[in-house]
């Protein structure tokens, strides 16, 4: 365990709370006590990175590494600063390569290494890095998106599209969309007990939604079944049933339930979602999927992912410009939507707009790495001497 001064501890605490200004001031106080402390330098690098001040982050991270060549959080900050700053892919390759060796299980290091290789036009090395990332974590969406982009560049959209779909399925935000449409944002504090649910439609459907949010498909299915036993044509219940089937890969049943729900309530957004997703998963039904997602966009136009789903179906129809417009709208609604960023990059590539495509990929990496909060994982491991 590395010893830390009280000032550094205060700086850490402030940094974890997101109080960048106060944390920077505390770091400078800590530097006044010991200007050779790599932890302070690494923390400063992270804070500068949080403010998107890349040159300052590079300076501090480099200083930290000079003080301690094993300072892995500093490598992370340095690599991210190089990538986000742009135009420094050669230096970035070296940093990610180093970090991938020091922290072998750090999936992001391999993904970033691949992106740095790709930016420096080393496609084979990039592919190897992304494949290595997927070996470590088969659900790593960004590595899959990058493979899709690489496939698009080499083989065209027809072969890249399945990879984009696969990456989309790995993206957990799609389920989030369903729950936003359903109006259930948070997971239940405790598992839903079917026996405790009041025997009326509203209570059962609300409990089923919560159970779905908690990924308890059996409870949800049971509650939906009880509702449908009483009223077979309840569109809300049918829409929930469609989603349950969808999660169980029973696409025919999901389609049947969603269609039935929509025949009763044609604008029901949750049913539109399930039907659109089913169509999108089945080969040759992109036109249907696009129509359903257009209808969904009318119902829930403020949700970025709706436009992403529409754009993906348009990609399948080779309507790249329209797809690009839908992706751009999604990015406007949610700049942090990694899926939209990669999709937009694909749309740009089909138009030969390589620099803009590269920019979207970099922004996707930006938001993805910001979301992950890797710095603190490495920082805590480093401060504990590698025991975390």
């Amino acid at each position: 365990m590395r010893e830390r001064s009280a000032t550094l501890a205060a700086a850490e605490s402030l940094a974890r709370q997101g109080a960048i200004g106060a944390a920077v001031a505390a770091c400078y106080e800590a530097l006044a006590i010991d200007h050779r402390d790599p932890l302070v330098r690494a923390l400063l690098a992270h804070l500068m990175l949080e403010g998107d001040f890349y040159d300052e982050a590079i300076t501090e991270a480099t200083a930290a590494i000079e003080l301690d060549p094993d300072c892995s959080p500093a490598y992370l900050a340095l690599g991210l600063a190089y990538d986000r700053r742009g135009g420094m892919s050669d230096q970035s390759v070296l940093v990610w390569h180093e970090l991938a060796e020091v922290e072998e299980d750090l999936v992001t290091a391999h993904v970033q290494l691949g992106e740095a290789f790709a930016a420096a036009a080393f496609q084979d090395e990039a592919l190897d890095s992304w494949k290595r990332a997927l070996e470590l974590d088969p659900k790593e969406a960004r590595a899959t998106y990058n493979l899709a982009i690489a496939s698009l560049k080499r083989e065209g959209m027809a072969l890249a599209l399945p990879l984009f779909r696969k990456a989309g399925e790995l993206d957990p935000s799609q389920d989030e969309l369903f729950f936003v449409l359903l109006g259930v944002r948070d997971r239940p504090a405790e598992p839903v007990d079917p026996a405790a649910v009041e025997p009326n439609r509203e209570a059962r459907l609300a409990a089923a939604a919560l159970a779905l949010r908690d990924e308890d498909l059996f409870t949800a299915a049971e509650l939906v079944r009880l509702t449908l036993d009483e009223v077979a044509d309840d569109p809300q219940a049918l829409a929930l049933a469609a989603y349950v089937y969808l999660k169980q890969e029973a696409t025919n049943e999901a389609m049947a339930c969603a269609l039935r729900a929509l025949s009763i309530e044609p604008t029901l957004d949750t049913a539109l979602y399930s039907l659109g997703v089913v169509y999108a998963r089945r080969t040759g039904l992109n036109r249907h999927a696009a129509r359903v997602f257009i209808a969904l966009a009318k119902q829930a136009g403020g949700q970025a992912l709706v436009h992403v789903l529409l754009a993906e179906s348009l990609l399948g129809l080779q309507r790249y410009q329209q797809a690009g417009r839908a992706y751009r709208l999604a990015v406007r609604l949610d700049p942090a939507c990694v899926r939209a960023r990669f999709g937009l990059a694909a749309a740009y590539l089909t138009e030969g707009r390589y620099a803009e495509a590269q920019w979207e990929i970099r922004r996707a990496a930006y938001y993805d790495t910001k979301r992950q909060g890797l710095f603190w994982r490495l920082y805590d491991r480093y401060t504990s001497g590698g025991d975390v």
Partner: protein
């Protein structure tokens, strides 16, 4: 303005649509570096077919060329000058003279290839501070100036470039060195212009040095978007969004008291497509013309031939990209340059003057504070976003440093500043009292007590970070045509406000004031409770929520127009920048699209426009109304002569 450039075409020529061969009042120039290949030795300094290059430049309507002195080759031994090598500079001047072009001779430049200041006999002494080397530098400068004292091809001397200045460790050392060089030149040549070759805004970013006092003692300055500055201020696509405004922002930061050349026009890396390079360069050149530059200088004549060293091809140096490829073949950007030069030549800047800027964006003094203060990092970005909002509102706008005289301004925007000096608050109060309007967005921390009196609000505290900005209109129409919205955007601060006499124009979702307006003396003071400019800058400026950008430009535009700082020619397209040059019998309007897609901007004048003509000539189009449409290509620009009924 260069006084001794070749005679301009006559106004009659311009009316006839005859493009002058040379741009005199708004020169288009290029940096002509001595070496264009990484494998070349420093000794190959201008050892190329200079005459052919100058002929090609002349054909492209380039009228001004910056050439670089190499101390290393000219003085290989202490006090011993190599006359044979010096002849190469004579050849450069001869080539310039042959094509009736002018040069800027730059003495101490670092291009990271030609080792121009790396005199072997200096050992490890610093050429910026060592007294002995300073003597040798003065000797070199005076020798060159004396040699060329009657050379008509030289328009100006430049003491050094930004890369060289960035090596200074202190402002005092830089000031002393610059004055020594200036005085050394003046001892020999009292006539020619002396240029300070660095922009204050970019140099403070790169080196932390505030060189404004040094810059102010020179007649001419430059503004140059360096690679580090671009990475800091607007790293992203070059053909839309903030990147298309950075050049003019940095130019405006050059101050109003100076002639400023928009320098270093062009892209920084070779991984940009030639189409993007051309589009970006077009935008930067027109921006310079529209924002009071004295001319434009392109970044480089020819691409650098980099070594194909494995595994890394790309080089981070910012001087790599020229307007010709490594074989000397012209890239599409050179055609853009020629077209621009032709347009600029048709705008007689003695007959047409830009409309005065009555709106200003305040650059706070805290911007020059070093770390750990973050103001130096946040403020320039906030100011850039404010500048973009003002441009999108079509306001003629300039940047004003804190402490600068506010005379001539009618509206002032203070974007997201954390603190202002007491003197500035006093100045702001006097400004508003006498009829000016101020828009100030809260920048975090404790609000100054002056806020209460000036803005009529009681500061109750900082609510801190908010992930959503909500706007509910309480007083429709009071500050422009605002609409209610809820959008996701992280704002770092939110001022909780109590009543102090101001009118609440808009609130957040809970009723806490978001926008207030207060009549103070003869003027109006508008308070925004959140640092929206900083929030845009620190989130994703290329994907900022439309509602927030609409709010900012509506507030800026409405307040400025009400204060008499609005545009003379209005426009309905935010992405179109409009600049008006007023003449006696006609005006010239230049419209530049900051969008990568085709668009049509509708311009609305105060008077009925009789006809519109492209400044380059052609048939006049009758208008007969105050409004007319201007189709714009992606990143396109047009310059039109307007006559009025």
């Amino acid at each position: 303005m260069p006084e001794d450039l070749p005679a301009p075409a006559t106004a009659a020529d311009a009316r006839e649509g005859v493009a002058p061969r040379r741009v005199t009042q708004f020169p288009v120039g290029v940096d002509y570096y001595p070496i264009d290949a990484e494998r070349a030795s420093y000794s190959e300094w201008y050892d190329t077919d200079v005459a052919a290059d100058f002929a090609a430049m002349a054909a492209a309507r380039i009228s001004l060329v910056r050439v670089f002195v190499s101390w290393k080759v000219l003085e290989p031994q202490v006090g011993q000058y190599d006359d044979a090598v010096a002849d190469r500079l004579d050849a450069v001047m001869e080539a310039a003279r042959a094509h009736d072009m002018r040069t800027i001779v730059c003495f101490f430049a670092d291009d990271r290839m030609a080792e121009m200041n790396d005199v072997t006999w200096a050992r490890k002494r610093d050429p910026r501070t060592d007294d002995y080397l300073l003597e040798r530098e003065i000797s070199l400068v005076q020798r060159v100036v004396n040699h060329f004292r009657t050379e008509p091809a030289i328009w100006a001397w430049e003491i050094g470039n930004e890369a060289f200045f960035a090596g200074f460790a202190s402002e005092d050392a830089l000031h002393a060195w610059a004055l020594a060089m200036r005085d050394a030149i003046r001892e020999v040549d009292t006539a020619r212009v002396i240029v300070f070759g660095a922009g204050a805004e970019t140099l403070v970013r790169e080196s932390g040095l505030d060189v404004r006092p040094t810059r102010d003692v020179f007649e001419y300055g430059v503004s140059r978007v360096t690679a580090p500055y671009r990475a800091y201020a607007a790293e992203g696509p070059l053909t839309y969004g903030p990147a298309t405004y950075v050049d003019s922002f940095v130019l405006r930061a050059g101050g109003v008291a100076h002639q400023v050349l928009a320098d270093g026009i062009g892209v920084h890396t070779l991984d940009v497509s030639v189409a993007e390079e051309a589009a970006y360069t077009r935008t930067a050149m027109y921006s310079a013309l529209m924002n009071r530059a004295s001319g434009v200088m392109l970044r480089r004549w020819r691409d650098v031939e980099t070594e194909r060293r494995e595994p890394y091809y790309q080089d981070p140096f910012e001087v790599l990209v020229g307007v010709n490829d490594v074989t000397g073949r012209a890239k599409p950007v050179l055609a853009e340059v020629s077209r621009f030069a032709r347009v600029a030549a048709h705008i007689d800047l003695r007959r047409y003057t830009p409309v005065p800027e009555r709106a200003g964006i305040l650059v706070p003094a805290e911007r020059y504070e070093p770390l750990p203060s973050l103001a130096g990092l946040y403020d320039p970005r906030s100011c850039l976003q404010a500048y973009i909002a003002a441009k999108e509102a079509h306001l003629p706008v300039r940047l004003v440093s804190e402490g600068e005289d506010l005379d001539g301004l009618m509206a002032l925007f203070v974007p997201s500043a954390a603190k202002l000096t007491m003197a500035m608050w006093t100045s702001l109060a006097a400004f508003v009292q006498s009829g000016g309007s101020v828009v100030l967005s809260y920048g975090g921390g404790d609000a100054d007590p002056a806020v209460r009196e000036l803005f009529g609000v009681e500061f109750l505290g900082d609510h801190g970070v908010r992930p959503v900005v909500s706007c509910r209109i309480a007083q429709p129409g009071l500050v422009g045509d605002l609409t209610s919205f809820d959008v996701r955007l992280d704002v770092p601060h939110y001022a909780l406000l109590g009543s102090g006499g101001a009118t609440v124009v808009a609130t957040d979702a809970t009723g806490s004031p978001l926008l207030t307006a207060h009549q103070y003396g003869q003027g109006r003071a508008i308070f925004l409770a959140a640092p929206l400019e900083r929030a845009i800058a620190q989130s994703d400026p290329w994907a900022a929520p439309d509602a927030i950008r609409d709010l900012l430009r509506t507030v800026y535009g409405s307040v400025a127009r009400a204060a008499g700082a609005g545009p003379i020619i209005d426009c309905d397209e935010p992405a179109a920048e409009v600049a008006l040059f007023q003449g006696e019998s006609a005006d010239i309007v230049v419209v530049l699209s900051h969008s990568p897609v085709p668009t049509t901007a509708t311009l609305t004048a105060e008077r009925v426009v009789a006809s519109v003509t492209d400044v380059r000539g052609g048939a006049a189009a009758d208008v007969g109304s105050k409004a007319f449409g201007v189709p714009l290509e992606p990143n396109g620009a047009v310059a039109l002569r307007l006559t009025y009924a």
